[in-house]
Assembly symmetry: C2
Homo-oligomer: 415 residues x 2
């Protein structure tokens, strides 16, 4: 490379958990031709706790002391809003470049951080915040002729994807699948943010800032977690030749519309084959559709991406920040739906379809499964319509039949 | 963006074909916040030929006159080795940055061009040379911690992929599928380089320079084109639950091994769903597997990528060149094989398997198809072995049975 690269970089590392330890290990093995990255100091919660040997440099519980050492870059791996927000705003005010993998912070305070970065002309990089193992945010920020993205659909929570996959193929219970994910290191000790869809909606909010220049509070996004998916829906999805995946979707050709929720994915959809803890994003641009797939998390993949961000700053890259993200309202899109009925005495399929149609919910494929406990179930795929219409129709179905009635969004195979 | 970007860029455009015209059209529609890109002059073969209006600037048949104008960037869209090679070496010697989409030139003269670029510390960018619509070469060049690629497999020739797809699913003849591709603008008027696999092996050579720092003449790579694929092989591939795709593969964990050839791709392989003119690359890195998929060619997608390269140079990116690509011998890998026999009197499946096994070619799946003309055919998937072993075995089979015996490489589903 003939890129002008600083000969060594002093990093102030905030947070020494799994990713922080992997970062320190990887930084110690600097690739040939590359800048040496030195961990000058690290912020920890508890000085008394034993640390893996790889973290050199001084340990402190005082973030101000770290900034006073004037590091080349602050790397934030704390997670959550505070104290990360206060420390990073202070770093940017002091013109110390920031690398963060913190989607919670970016999704909720991204506007404030971008403005601070632009005001002090100081880089703020966050490649590892979404699909941590696949570099694409910086790439598209540099390349405006390619980055004409008008919509995206993706799987951005590997934990949910793994757990739902185990429930679907193996018939495993949610609790058992979560325990397995924890055993394999795929799920946090407290997996609630993953299972409730909050992690996915935060990542979606970061993607909207990045690709649509729109700032949406993740709490304003339609968000559902995989914990709401029933086994019978997984069975019917398979009968209909597809599966249920934890999906984020957004489009902004006209008004911004978006959701983060488990959805029926037909077998021919590019996301249907994204299995295990893999993440993927399918983007529609002016020049075609791009699919990017790879590791979504994991200490090693995340640490490599964070280190590359540090190296890009050392090489003089000024960052992907853009102060012009605008607050924006978001609508729930009209999509197809997977509608499932379960009960001891199901009405005739034709009567159900007629009732749904009377609410403007028109079905085009159906499947039926009889169960050993005397319960029966049926599912339909419905043509695109808005959520309120589906909810009214389901409510009427429950009242008319005494059945349980469930609905999930369904993706269409891109043309 | 707070990136330091030159306020305007004067481009010397070499070649005003489909991509050149698209480049001129797109450059005229500069995105907001972006550098204005002006076509200061264009090299054409024939001044008398009418041009689409979008190419402004002066036209000339004299490349030296264009360089004498001291453009900010030379954009080379001529294709082929000469005169492109001479002009670009001259441009680099004069420290004029170069953007090219020319895989033929890079694959054959990449070492010379990289050395010229390094010697004059002048950028040489070529993002559009492979998978033109998906930016990834520059991304990985900047990010050494992620770019620990040890092997790759991909589909890099959209024309072949489209044509083989039409032959496979529709039972269309090769000639009809090629004519259809030409009608749709997916194939050149002279598609020989695509159909013979030469375009794919040139792109593979560029990928080897970029990811493996190895310089291999494309003529030294095992290269087969889709024109060698028989209809019966497509039928058997479908029977075996897969398809035949035009594949490039390379691995360099130990010795470098590579091939560019149509291969059996099982349905569960990530490349199985890469259809139409799409391209894709699956890379194995130290931190996981990354799949990148999108438009492989097309004037608009290619022009956007070339323009983004120009913009990156304007923003101060010094390029992805590395003078240390080393000449390297290449071996043909041991892979699985799809072996097909066709004839009027086929030997018993067991006898064929025994004969193959006596040459060290061990089969693990078989299929049989009877044809209306009295011919029968059978296929086997064989466990990984080297090409000479397979060729000896097939030769023995032909002698023993009087049958036609065919073989294609076969991919395994990544673990």
């Amino acid at each position: 490379m003939t890129t002008c690269v600083a000969s060594s970089v002093d990093v102030a590392l905030l947070g020494c958990g799994n990713v922080g330890a992997a970062f320190a290990r990887l930084a110690a093995r600097t690739p040939e031709h590359s800048t040496a990255i030195r961990i000058a100091g690290a912020l920890v919660r508890d000085l008394a706790r034993p640390r893996p040997g790889a973290v050199a440099g001084r340990m402190t519980t005082d973030p101000r002391a770290l900034l006073d050492d004037a590091p080349s870059v602050v790397v934030e791996l704390l997670g959550g809003v505070e104290p990360a927000r206060t420390i990073l705003l202070e770093a940017l005010a002091r013109r110390i470049p920031v690398v963060t993998a913190n989607k919670t912070l970016l999704s909720r305070c991204g506007r404030e951080l971008r403005e601070a970065s632009a005001a002090s002309r100081t880089p703020l990089l966050y490649e590892a915040a979404v699909v941590a193992g696949v570099p694409f945010l910086g790439t598209f920020a540099r390349r405006p002729y390619t980055a004409t993205v008008s919509s995206l659909v993706g799987i951005v929570n590997g934990t949910s994807n793994f757990v739902l996959g185990r429930c679907g193929s193996g018939g495993t219970s949610l609790a058992r699948a979560v325990a397995e994910a924890q055993r394999l290191g795929y799920a946090e000790p407290d997996p609630r943010n993953d299972l409730a869809g909050i992690d996915a909606s935060e990542k979606l909010a970061v993607l909207l800032q990045h690709f649509a220049a729109r700032f949406v509070n993740p709490d304003a996004l339609e968000t559902n977690g995989i914990e709401s998916v029933e086994g019978i829906q997984l069975e019917h999805a398979a009968e209909l030749g597809g599966g249920i995946k934890p999906v984020v979707h957004a489009g902004w050709t006209n008004a911004l519309e978006a959701f983060a929720a488990p959805a029926f994915v037909p077998a021919a959809h590019p996301l249907a084959r994204v299995d295990g803890v893999d993440n993927a994003i399918l983007m529609t641009t002016a020049h075609g559709r791009l699919l990017l797939q790879g590791p979504g998390a994991g200490p090693e993949a995340t640490a490599a991406t964070v280190l590359d961000d540090v190296r890009e700053i050392a090489a003089g890259w000024a960052g992907v920040h853009d102060a012009t993200v605008s607050p924006c309202t978001v609508a729930a899109p009209e999509t197809e739906w997977l509608i499932t009925l379960r009960g001891t005495r199901l009405a005739a399929a034709r009567d159900v379809a007629d009732l749904l149609a009377s609410f403007g919910v028109f079905t085009h494929r159906a499947t039926a499964i009889g169960a050993s406990d005397g319960h029966q179930s049926r599912s339909w795929l419905a043509w695109p319509c808005a959520r309120p219409r589906v909810e009214l129709a389901l409510s009427a179905l429950r009242n008319a039949s005494g059945c349980e009635a469930l609905a999930l969004r369904a993706l269409e195979v891109p043309a």
